[in-house]
Symmetry: C2
Subunit: 897 residues, 2 copies
């Protein structure tokens, strides 16, 4: 039969730190501290397995649990020299939850259990403090009533408040023993009213019900939500810790505190924490009295402080990790109540990890595993001053589309953004949604705010590429372009009003908030260096212009994985030529317009090649449908007609002709290249001529030409032929050659299905997981915001598949594509250039799937480097485990022989 | 070494009919006739393999071919007692192409080869006809010059025309020997001008070049196009037949004709054909002289006629197939020049197949295999009177979107179509594209014509469902709704003008053309009965209303595979309720609007259940995005606001809110049901209440509720829960139960990928291959017309994947879905309800993939029944073959033992 209860206390435990899954974090660490001979109040832990069986058994205890609890209770009584319910030597216990993963405050706790009228006097006597004892009893009734029996919390609060009003005070501490006794009476009446029974005096009953309550709290709504939000899965349930009570509120020689072995905010290796004398844990947290810095404890109780410092040093060394500890001093004696790995800011995490390696405490690999890649964002972008943000007026929430913080004046169009910025104003570009025409305005703004669109909307993608703060899809935002104002609820904000946006949280504030600039520390560079040593996956960047490419190189990018050539088409000096090309009625006039674009694109590419200095640069040929390049409103169409000197009707007719019902699935990508080979001819020429030009300046070049939206062999073979012909032509004309590659995006599901065919022509695959997700799941990323949010809330999808790669669905297509592709071309180079290339769990998937590189926006490059390193380390660890297991098996076999 | 040449003649052949792949159809059948002892001019056939090697060998003959040709030429000379190039006993031959598949007129032929100045006199002497001989020589030079040496055809024609003008005649036959000699001289001069050499007198050189020309003609443009259009693939090349010439133009005792063993137009078992005396084959075809009916030949040459009848009887019995034969009578003696299976109309094919079974000539299975399922369409729809159509003015071409023929007056909107039809007018509804709002107008029209959209556009799909003639995507059509006119080229057609459309060919005509109604024969019913016995695959129909369901049952449908409930939403009595529901701002008012719809939907479903009498009826819950139900033009929005008594601004705001960038990938299908479970609750209630109501009238019911657009397990489990709850509620309220099933469409690629998960909930899968094709290939079917046509033309896709299931891509997803689905639920019922369910090659795929049924529009049901039968027969034949091969192997092994 399984063992359900593990004892700790009296210098040794049945459990240990490694039994976290079974005993929960709290229980395992209490056992470990006890084993280390540390002063831990004795107690026992009921396993998570018991909780699991409790649920499987219609909320009844598994067979044998009761006997084990009783046996351990006896043991506890023996160790504590006290007896449960004995008026002379009463044993009081706490009953606390504790799962394998930290879920602070989500589940239930009952303190002071074992109290009754009979026992309270004995406690008073022992503590030489009537008031303390009756307050403990009051608290117990309230906690037990509320947590275990579901008596409405409010009713207890009302009684307490009424009493305080009666004696005209605001503080619980002003209540006398008599007041408390009166409250206890009233509490019991409320308890009876709701439960139809008297408050239990039998401590066993109290304990049994409390254990049940903790079990049940595992599945309360907030616990379920917390697990979902924090991606906590696969746990059996919560453990229950029953532990002898110690009191920090027994008078001025008692106290309680929380401390960290290092500074959790800066990472500095200095003892950090706070405490209060004559207080219980909740008093420190509640913030009514101001706690003291931990180092002043030495003045209160030098011995206890010295002991605490020694303990924290031992614990940190033992766990090889920064510890977050709780302690209580009862009448001068120190007790440890909890220790666990401490939460920390990104900056602290970085410094602690690097310091610990320098101190020889952990290995580089361990250091790498300890940083949450997503946290690095905090270090790369400006942030709000935390205090200023806390006091600012929050007016709306949207999607945290691109991290960072920004303050500025509202403008409602890209042109205004540019003009105002030229005059030195900081502006927040506020749009219903953005389009490629807004790029210059987005670049000029300090932040971007949209009322529509999801995490991979145009605004979000471009903003992330620029490393610019953005909030998307703020649904309560009503924008009125005509009158240059926006309404949130009943409040109107006009052009020029200040707002502030936090792109890391999605919160919009009224007014200005002070921002703090990002600063990269030496620790950051050290850690990144280690990451590069550990990872197998290459990290490239998605960048269209030299400035972004340079930023990415600074962040460690090893190449460009995606340059979207069409972004360049919107620059004012070329959009006219692009439109001329679109209006062209025959190949000749189309080619004439393209000729105007050639030198401009060549210059663009030359700039990128120079910025990347020999690193591979993957350039995607034109991808969007042509209607994205023509204006859709009347005024702009008239302007276009004027500039091109054609009748407005012609412009309108062309716009109508280009209209598509589902542009996502329309005439775009290589389909354009097949209809108008002259476009890819021009682009190829621009790429290769630029490469030759840069090579002549003695800078290495490594162009990779990428054909988008291929779904059938004939598409890539036709396009490749046009590209190859053009390249050979240029080589001949320029009398020189450069090395190059030709490959394709894999973004249409069909491409994954026939990847073996496609790989006959493609020298590399780059998975465009944005579009692949759209088509595999049938989600238009511009429209899906409407229901995907609901889907995630209802748990249909765990995560928005545009943010986190859908490994079960889209991932299967990716794996199929790689496997089939490499079946034809063994050395096929494979990467990803969708937004997922910068998301840690997706990067791990890419590593496992055997990709060669990921590509992401410049500001995500460090995140990708770290995530790639972690993926490699995880794999190594798993292999080591497998090898070790195999060794053990072999050894066993040998022994048998 | 391979044998490249096969001789026939003198009563026996080296080849035979079964060697079609190697000898081509013509060569194999000549050999066969010769083996049967029939009068065939001797000759030999150069194999298709030689042609293949010719191409593989840079257009050079394979080693040994020359020797074989020379050897066989000798043999031919011996059999014919004549000598190649010998002025005394000259051997003249024809050189004809002949591939394994019939490609009439696509490749080259040279007649009268062996003629030269030296030989022509001898021929004249033998024929006792100078003019004949010199005409033969003239023809030879012209044919050889044109076909073999690429001398421009026109130049020969000019010389001939000039001569006729000179002697003031219009007929070749008026040319004298002298005229012909003059022409020959001029021909030779033209020949020399272009080829820079004299016309060859060496017959070997003539032969060698002619054989090459035939080889080369295998890959001329028109042959390539013909093979692509007729789906002829996998052939090695063409064979070349070199055969002794016989002349039907040697005088009045000579003649030539073409005949069929049965009537190819009606199928009647009566000798059919025509002939001309003193003529060559081309004269019969050219139509300058009117040929005589074959039975009058008995008056000309009784012996020859009797012999011909005997031969055609033997041939038909031998080949067990209706024969199309060519013969020549030279100076009274009958020669057979060709026999092959005869092409025939659908009606003839049907009658011949059924008759031959009755005659004991072929089995039922063979009869079934002989009908092209696609041809059946001819029998089910009205057609134009062929003569009237031939002489009509063709004004445009589009996609043959729904078969049949229609004549009527042009109207430009659905409302006019209804009004005019009410006044007894036949109208052709002409639109840029149609939308669900046009359904009533489409129903009122006799035909539908659109300028946009492909084979699976709304217009096409709905028209096929209605069995109504439709041409879609007529690109040259410029429709001006405002002025109620359309322009094609420079011609304007106004409302009320007559046009005629042939939906089977896609041709648009000006004016009226007489139509002939469809009539189903008893043979049709017989054949269908046989098909039902042979097939394994079930055949259902896609039908939304009882009328269509009844039509389908008449055609043999065994159930409804897809009822699109939303089509019912557009009826005038309910669109208001639908719009009320859409405008509803909370669940309560949404439910109120749905309550209005409930009795109407219930009535719809009851009607369908009655029409189908116990056959399964698969009803798909609401699928399209809500914006399809609201008007998008100003006037209609105002009208909607008036009817619903709400401000226009509210309507406009809702329409704007519902707008989607890619509605195909938007908020539709089960996604609606998840946001508004009350909609599926209402629909489920309507379905089940209707089923109970019909059951109470003692009619069996078998409802299958289908959830559309599922892509993730959570979607189907949530929807199914709502459906199940509703069903149980209805059962309880009505105090009775009916059997039902709940299943899903598989149309999102992700659904195929996780089909094992989905099958945990789904009792059936119905592959929605329209949407599955859109998403797998990334083709919006509303937009793809623009480039898919080009793709098919450029050979990137062989067929439009919306018409013919893309087996390599989409098919792989279907197979994956079935395999994974059945891995979880062994007895999972699987069908297809996309447009492909009525397309023969796709049906064969469905059979092979192990589906249980296909579902198609009512008028395609017979096609599907036949195609399903053919799929089953093919499979059986393949199995028989495999078994036979296995037996042979076993026997061989035994022998060895």
């Amino acid at each position: 039969m399984a063992k359900y209860v593990y004892f700790f206390g009296g210098g040794k435990s049945e459990g240990k730190a490694s039994m976290k899954e079974l005993l929960g974090g709290k229980g395992a660490n209490l056992a470990e501290m006890c084993n280390l001979g540390m002063p831990v109040p004795a107690g026992f832990t009921i396993t998570t397995q018991a909780c699991d069986l409790f649920y499987k058994n219609k909320q009844k205890w598994p067979k044998g649990l009761k006997e084990e609890v009783l046996k351990n209770l006896k043991k506890l009584e023996a160790v504590m020299s006290a007896k449960f319910g004995d008026p002379n030597t009463p044993l009081l216990v706490s009953v606390r939850s504790g799962a394998a993963a930290s879920m602070p405050g989500m589940m239930d706790t009952v303190l002071n259990l074992g109290l009754s009228e009979a026992v309270v006097d004995s406690l008073a006597r022992k503590a030489r403090n009537d008031r303390f004892a009756w307050d403990a009893y009051r608290r117990f009734i309230q906690m037990f009533g509320d947590v275990v029996m579901n008596v409405p919390h409010d009713e207890f609060e009302h009684i307490l408040e009424a009493k305080k009003r009666q004696i005209k005070t605001k503080f619980d501490t002003d209540l006398s023993t008599k007041d408390l006794k009166d409250i206890v009476k009233k509490y019991k009446a409320v308890y009876k009213k709701h439960t139809k029974e008297n408050f239990p005096t039998d401590p066993w009953k109290q304990l049994e019900k409390s254990i049940n309550a903790v079990f049940i709290s595992w599945n309360n709504d907030r616990a379920i939500t917390y697990r979902r939000l924090n991606d906590i899965k696969g746990l059996l349930g919560t453990a229950v810790n029953v532990q002898a009570m110690v009191f920090g509120n027994m008078g001025e020689t008692s106290g309680t505190g929380v401390c960290f072995s290092r500074n959790p905010s800066t990472g500095e290796n200095k003892f950090y924490g706070e405490y209060l004398m004559n207080a219980q844990g909740e008093d420190v947290v509640a913030g009514i009295r101001t706690p003291h810095p931990i180092n002043t404890l030495t003045n209160q109780n030098r011995r206890a402080y010295t002991e605490l410092v020694a303990l924290k040093n031992r614990l940190e060394k033992h766990y090889r990790e920064m510890q977050d500890m709780e302690f209580t001093i009862q009448e001068g004696k120190l007790y440890m109540l909890q220790t666990r790995a401490g939460k920390r800011t990104a900056a602290a995490a970085l410094q602690i990890a690097v310091d610990m390696v320098k101190e020889g405490l952990i290995s580089k690999e361990e250091a790498l595993m300890r940083i949450d890649p997503a946290q690095l964002d905090q270090l790369l972008h400006p942030t709000f001053d935390p205090k200023a943000e806390k006091s600012a007026a929050q007016i709306a929430r949207g999607l945290p589309a691109s991290p960072g913080a920004a303050t500025g004046k509202i403008v409602f169009n890209a042109h205004d953004a540019e003009t105002w910025a030229e005059h030195g104003e900081k502006v927040i570009l506020t749009r219903i949604e953005t389009s490629p025409e807004d790029i210059a305005g987005m670049n000029a703004a300090t932040g971007i705010l949209t009322s529509r669109g999801g995490m991979t909307s145009h605004a979000a993608v471009v903003a992330r590429g620029m490393g610019k703060c953005c909030i998307a899809g703020v649904e309560e935002l009503n924008i009125d372009y005509k009158n240059k104002k926006m309404i949130i609820g009943k409040q109107t904000y006009k052009e020029g009003d200040y707002i502030s946006i936090n792109g890391s949280t999605g919160t919009v504030y009224a007014g200005q908030i002070k921002t703090v600039d990002a600063k990269l520390s030496g620790d950051f560079l050290t850690l990144m260096k280690w990451a590069d040593q550990a990872r197998r996956l290459g990290v490239r960047t998605n960048a269209d212009i030299p400035k972004d490419a340079q930023t990415a190189v600074t962040f460690g990018a090893e190449g460009i994985g995606l340059c979207r050539t069409e972004h360049m088409f919107f620059e004012p000096d070329r959009i006219t030529s692009v439109r001329k090309m679109i209006l062209a009625e025959d190949t000749a006039s189309r080619e004439a317009a393209l000729k105007e674009l050639l030198p401009l694109q060549r210059k663009d590419f030359a700039g990128l090649f120079k910025a990347m200095g020999g690193r591979p640069v993957t350039i995607r040929l034109i991808d969007p449908p042509l209607h994205e390049f023509v204006p859709h409103d009347d005024a702009s169409q008239k302007e276009m007609a004027r500039v091109l000197n054609v009748p407005v009707a012609k412009v309108k007719a062309k716009v109508a002709e280009l209209h598509e019902f589902n542009p996502m699935l329309g005439h775009r990508g290589c389909r354009l290249g097949i209809t108008y080979p002259e476009i890819i001819r021009m682009q190829t020429r621009a790429i290769i001529e630029a490469a030759i030009q840069v090579k002549k300046a003695r800078i290495k070049v490594s162009p990779e030409i990428m054909i988008p939206l291929v779904g059938e062999y004939g598409e890539i073979s036709l396009c490749k032929q046009v590209i190859e012909e053009t390249i050979q032509q240029v080589f001949k004309q320029k009398k020189t050659r450069v090395a190059y590659m030709i490959g394709t995006m894999i973004e249409v599901p069909r491409a994954a299905v026939i990847a073996d065919e496609i790989a006959k022509e493609a020298e590399f695959f780059s998975f465009g997981t944005n579009d692949l997700t759209q088509m595999t799941c049938g989600f238009s990323r511009d429209d899906a915001g409407r229901f995907l949010k609901e889907y995630v809330e209802k748990g249909i999808f765990e995560k928005d598949p545009f943010q986190v790669l859908d490994q079960e669905g889209v991932g299967k297509m990716v794996e199929m594509g790689i496997q089939k592709g490499r079946s034809t071309r063994k050395k096929l180079k494979v990467g990803i250039c969708g937004e997922h290339g910068g998301e840690p769990s997706s990067i791990e998937f890419c590593h496992r799937a055997g990709m060669d590189y990921v590509s992401c926006s410049p500001f995500r490059v460090p995140i990708a480097r770290l995530a790639a390193a972690q993926a490699a380390i995880k794999e190594k660890q798993a292999q080591t485990k497998t090898r070790a297991a195999a060794k053990t098996r072999t050894a066993k076999v040998r022994k048998k022989k």
